[in-house]
Every structure is written in C-alpha cells, then in structure tokens.
Amino acid sequence: MWILLLLPFAGLLWLPFYNHEGPALFGFPFFYWYQLLWVPVTALLIWIVYRHDKKNGVE
C-alpha cells in the first residue's frame, strides 16, 4: 500500500512526460492541467493508504 505514495513523485518529477502544451483541457495547456490533476489524485492516494492503515490498527 505504501508504494502508492511514491506515484506522485514518479508522476511529477519526470518532467519530459508533461512538459508540453498539448493536449489542452478547458483552455489549460497540458503542463498546467496535468499538474493540477495530481492534487486530487495525491489526496486520494493518501486517503487509500490512510484507510488501509486504519483497518490494520496503525496508531
């Protein structure tokens, strides 16, 4: 489960993957909406790990 917490690092620190303008979404170039999308995705991943920990009784 903890491995999920590494995904944002992979997704955001490998710049060649998202350093371009297309495809745009709602007028936002890819570079911008891709990074903004990682905000809710990261919160969700942390929440999944949190739920999992809680079930296993992590203090």
């Binding site: 917490l5 955001l12 620190l13 710049l15 170039p29 570079f31 911008y32 990074q35």
Partner: protein
C-alpha cells in the same frame, strides 16, 4: 501628508481593509480565552502549542494558514509573471509535501507527545542525548525562520502600498498589534485568525479565477496573451520549461517539499495537533490549499491578458485587482493578503520563541526553569523576534531578506537527517549526524554564494550541463558525510534511544 498623496489613497478599499484588520485584532485578543481549559496555570504547552488540543479542522485552517503564506500569494504569481512555467514549481512542491507529511509527521508527533517535547530540537535531544546536535537543529531553525518572518512583512508592505499608503508607519503599527496579541494569546491567536484569513483568501481566489477570465476572454486568451508576451521577451521564459530548466524544476520541487515541514512554523502546527490521526487526515485534506495555490499562480498570466505593466514584479497581484475589481473588493482582497501575513508571522515567532526557550534558555541558562517560567521567556522572546524582523525590513534592503530566506531553505533542509532519520531507524548516532549537518550547511552556503546567491547550481560534465537545487545537493553531501562518519566511528557518541513502535 500633502494633498497629492492624500488623493492617491483609495478610501473605499482602505475602509474595507481597516474593518477586517480590526476584526481580526479583536479576535486575536479574544483568542486567549478561546478553547482554554478552566483553572489551567500558565504553561508553555498552553501558550506555545495551544494546549496540544487542536483537532482536524483547527489544524487544517492553522497549517493551511501558515504554510501558504501571504508572501506566497504575492511572490508565486510574481515569479510566474516574470518567467512563466518555471514559477509553477511551487505546485509539485506543495503536492509532494503531503505524502512526506503523511509518512513522517505522525511519528514525530508520537515522539513529541510521549515525552512532552515542544520543538523538533527537543525530539532530537530526547533521541540522541546530544546537546550539540540539539543546538545545531535549534539554531538552524531560528536563523532560517527570521528572514521568513521578514518576507511576510514584504507581502504586507506590497498591499499597504497598493492602498495608497506611504511610509513605514502602517506596517509598523500592524506588526505591533500582532506582537501584542501573540504575546497575550499565543498559538490560539493565529489559529483563530486563520479561519478568517483562509475563508477570505478562498473567496478572493475563487472570485478572481472565475471573473477575471470572463473579463479577459477566457483561459485560452489568458494563456495566449502570456505565451505571446514570453515569445517577445525571449530568454528562459515560456508556457513550458526549457530543456535546461527540467532538472532545476524537479529538484526545487522535491527539495522544497522535504524542507517545508522542518521549519518551526509548520512543525508547531504538527505538535499542536490533538492526535497522530489528526495529522494523517490533514495530509489528505490539506492539498485543497494546493489547488488554490495553482490558481493563484495563474494570476501572473492574467496580468498579461489584462495588459498590466508593473515596475516591480511583486506588484502584479495588487495591480491586477486594482485594475479589474471595484475598490471595495480590492480592499477585501488586500485585507485577506495582509491578514495572510499575520498568521504565519505569528506562528513563526511562536515557533522560534519555543526553540529559544526550550533548547537554549532551559538547556544553558536555567535548567530548573518551571513550565510557567518557560511560558514567560517564550512570550518575551516572541516580541524580540518580531521586532528583529521589522528592523530587517525597515533598515536593510529587501533583497537581503530575499537572499537570506533562500539560504534559509538550504539551511533548514540540513536538519532533515537529524530530525527524521531517528524516527525510522537507529543506526546513525549524534556525532555522525552533527558532522553531516555541518558539512552540508557549509558546502550548501559556499556553493550558493559562489553562484551569486542563486538556488540552483550547474555542473558541467563533458558536454552536458546539469543544474540542481543547491539545498538538495547539500542534503546529499550531508547524508553521505554522516554515513561515512558512522562507518568510520561506529561507537562514537551514545546509542540513540530505541525507535518507537
């Protein structure tokens, strides 16, 4: 005041601004009674950590309020306005910080809670029993925080100027009021004010990101205007990163994320939480502020679509609001930014005062000090810290504070191994960590100075140029040195206390 400066004052905006400023002042003084247990004697836990009883919501507002500072609201759009995509590194930085907080901070909270520690340096002393390592962590934290407080004043100065007020008096007055209610109410004051500040900032930003593009022809037009401006400007600017900027962008984001919760103001929010669960929940919900930050950053592009030109990049946000919004809303927005400076400045001065009291006064001056005595020393220290920051801003060039804050980031990152490693494994001992800290600090500072106080250092390897964040580079040196010393001198120093389960 002569007639001309009188005429420049925006009275509507100023009235709204003053109203909200007075509101939070009243709240600040009232805060000393808020959530206070009855008949509790004066204690540093009360003044410096709000009774260690902040639940999920209060912690969310408090940490959100002091991590995303007023200076952020001014400086991030200013950088984005100046260079484009590169200024957005604040976004991955404030995303990656939360997995880090989720993994590390509940453990740090447990270590502090069990032993009644108030500061990170307390935790380090508790673990390693080393006064020198404790002092290293404490001094680094205080020195890195002072210019950070000064920058909050810069943020406040910018909006006070945008209201048409001149001179240092309004700034000094605002800060004296802040100093007084922090003195009387401690951490409860910024915690209570953070509710108002954060709600105001949310309102301002949501209105701005919806209404401004409507006025300017939508987001495609905003990005197009910025793209054209950068094409005309040339150099290392643009809507995407230049190849040479990729590595600096990634290392700045990662290094800043590692450093963010080593600062006393963010850690104070952690130590003041009621439980480890409070902190974990906040790691899930605090990213909401990062969405806000991303949108705030876009104000830098909106300025191009609105055809705004400014003398100093830091004026871009106030100039945008003054140009596009009615005066009363500008006043509201400026009040939000100024109050946004008060919350972090208060928490920073409290964090620094806690460090001074626990890790200097109690450690070296008066080891038998009582908890009420500690509270007294911390309260007086918090006044001194704020006066110091005010003096820096009024008497030294702003660039000095900016440079110091940048170096502060490099420095605070060097406390990471001492504060964090011991929470997970007990291999390192104090002498190794101290050596790593010292070499990391000295090499990071030297490299930054040789580069002309720039945050990024360029290596030339063969034909390639690789530029990385100096703080992260120094941290690598720090860890390598600590590991080498630990291998060479495995039994120097005492064995650290066992890692808590």
């Amino acid at each position: 005041m002569d007639a001309q400066t009188m005429g420049a004052i925006n009275w509507t905006a100023l009235s709204v601004f003053v109203f909200f400023f007075l509101l939070v002042t009243v709240m600040g003084f009232y805060a000393s009674r808020w959530q206070r247990p009855e008949k509790k004697e004066a204690h540093l836990d009360e003044w410096g950590l709000g009774g260690r009883n902040f639940g999920t919501w209060i912690t969310w507002f408090l940490v959100g309020g002091d991590f995303y500072t007023a200076y952020t609201v001014i400086a991030v759009p200013a950088l984005v306005y100046a260079v484009g995509a590169y200024g957005f590194f604040a976004l991955p930085y404030t995303i990656l910080v939360y997995p880090i907080v989720f993994v590390i901070m509940p453990k740090l909270w447990h270590a502090a809670h069990k032993a009644g520690h108030v500061t990170a340096a307390d935790v380090v002393f508790g673990r390693y029993g080393s006064r020198p390592l404790e002092l290293a962590v404490a001094v680094t934290a205080v020195v890195a925080t002072m210019p950070y407080i000064a920058l909050q004043l810069v943020g406040m100065e910018v909006v006070i100027k945008a209201l048409g007020l001149t001179g240092e008096l309004p700034l000094a007055a605002a800060f004296v009021i802040l100093a007084l209610y922090t003195y009387s109410a401690g951490l409860r004051a910024p915690a209570l004010i953070a509710f108002v500040k954060d709600l105001m900032i949310y309102i301002v930003v949501l209105v701005a990101v919806v209404l401004v593009p409507i006025k300017l022809g939508g987001y495609p037009a905003v990005f197009a205007a910025a793209g054209e401006a950068f094409a005309a400007k040339g150099g290392a600017t643009g809507l995407t990163l230049k190849p040479a900027q990729l590595l600096p962008y990634a290392t700045l984001a990662l290094g800043s994320a590692l450093a963010a919760f080593m600062y006393p103001h963010t850690l104070t929010g952690i130590f003041a939480a009621k439980s480890a669960d409070t902190i974990r929940k906040n790691a899930v919900f605090l990213p909401a502020y990062t969405v806000l930050l991303g949108l705030i950053a876009l104000l830098g592009y909106m300025a191009y679509a609105a055809k705004i030109t400014v003398k100093s990049n830091n004026d871009v946000v106030p100039a945008l609001f003054n140009a596009l919004f009615p005066a009363w809303f500008s006043g509201f927005a400026f009040a939000a930014i100024a109050i946004g400076a008060l919350v972090p400045a208060a928490v920073m001065s409290i964090g620094a005062a806690n460090l001074f009291t626990r890790n200097f006064w109690k450690a070296y001056v008066n080891p038998s000090i009582t908890p009420p005595g500690e509270a007294k020393v911390a309260k007086i220290t918090s006044l001194g810290v704020k006066v110091g920051a005010l003096v820096i801003i009024i008497f030294l060039p702003t660039q000095f504070a900016l440079d110091l804050q940048l170096l502060g980031g490099v420095w605070i990152l060097q406390t990471f191994p001492a504060v964090v490693f011991g929470l997970f494994f007990a291999w390192f001992r104090a002498p190794a960590l101290l050596a790593g800290w010292a070499v990391g600090l000295i090499s990071g500072t030297t490299i930054a100075f040789l580069d002309g106080v720039k945050p990024v250092h360029t290596f030339n390897l063969g034909d390639g140029h690789y530029a990385v964040y100096t703080g992260l580079l120094a941290l690598v040196i720090n860890v390598v040195v600590a590991a080498v010393v630990q291998v060479v001198l495995p039994s120097a120093g005492t064995k650290p206390k066992a890692v808590a389960a």
